[in-house]
């Protein structure tokens, strides 16, 4: 294999790594939601916590991103919003990933 092909492959790997990092950052920014005047991140930890607490409680407290306690009085609605936003962002991330897979990265 000649060196130009290796360089091309290295460049593609680098481009893919940068694009993935940017796409992930974009997903993280989009995962933030405001619910009843408080800021949350629709990440796996929040989703799992809300789902776990919801199993045994009709209302409960969680911390927002600035560590303020927030009473959740509508766990079903809140969980639904979290999941919807989480999947919206990961779907977009997946599409970016697919673009690079097609390029051979």
């Amino acid at each position: 294999m000649d060196i130009s092909q290796l360089k091309k492959s290295a460049d593609l790997s680098y481009d893919t790594a940068v694009a993935k990092r940017n796409a992930l950052e974009k997903a993280h920014a989009r995962q933030i939601i405001v619910y009843r005047e408080h800021i949350f991140r629709a990440d796996p930890q929040t989703i799992c916590l809300v789902r776990t607490l919801k199993e045994t409680n009709d209302t409960f407290f969680v911390l927002d991103t600035n560590s303020n306690p927030v009473e959740i009085t509508d766990p079903t609605g809140f969980l639904s919003k979290l999941i919807e936003r989480n999947q919206e962002t990961l779907n977009a991330y997946h599409q970016t990933q697919q673009t690079f897979t097609k390029k051979g990265a």
């Binding site: 950052e25 920014a29 989009r30 933030i32 405001v34 005047e37 408080h38 600035n66």
Partner: protein, 249 residues
Amino acid sequence: MSRGVLLFCFDTEHTRYHRLLEKCVHLIGKNLELPITVITDHDTFNKIKPLGFINYKFIEPERGNTKMGKSWNNADRHMAYELSPYDTTLVMDIDYFCFTDNLLQFMDTGHDFLIPDQAHDLTDRENLQHRKWSMVPMVWATVFIFKKGEKSRMIFEMIKYIKKHYSYFNKLYRIFSSNLRNDYVFAIALQQLGGFVGYDKFPFALSTLPPDCEIVEMTDNGIAWKHNDQINFIEQQDVHVLNKEVADV
């Protein structure tokens, strides 16, 4: 409760900031749909093309500050509280381009003041970690939201105090650059007023294109840039562009 965006725009002999304003306003109208007030001077205003229903307020900018040897009229941000006609105000640099509606939801939080303290380098070189250039945890005054009230009023009073005595605070916090940077002024004010403990922040990093990135295209959805002979792009993500030549794209 009124809500809106406050922008500062002053042309200099080197940079046609009004061209940035035109792009910035277009994207705010498309993605945030909030009323806009522009703080400017008459010379700049005369060059701005018609932008629709925009509220203009005229001031004479404080001059004398520089960045990389060029004039930099950035010293009026401390007056945002008095200049804003809104109850909840989103203040943005005009080189911050909203390709999403992500910021809109923060207009409805219970927080009096929100500002980001992280930046994400879109070229993945991590060269925006400014913590090592001072003794104060950095914030990015590129974008912030405040609600009018006692807490925000005190924050701006503190900002004015820090700005007035900036040469002292610049040395106290061992800030590498001696010119006035709002990022440091705001960071010091928030740290001092917060009792050196903490303050509320946006939980995201500002996606930023460093100054050495040449902007090759900008559309309503995103931006493409050239760096090290490589062209890259991002869509549906708000971007802070440090290369002011974006005005000519």
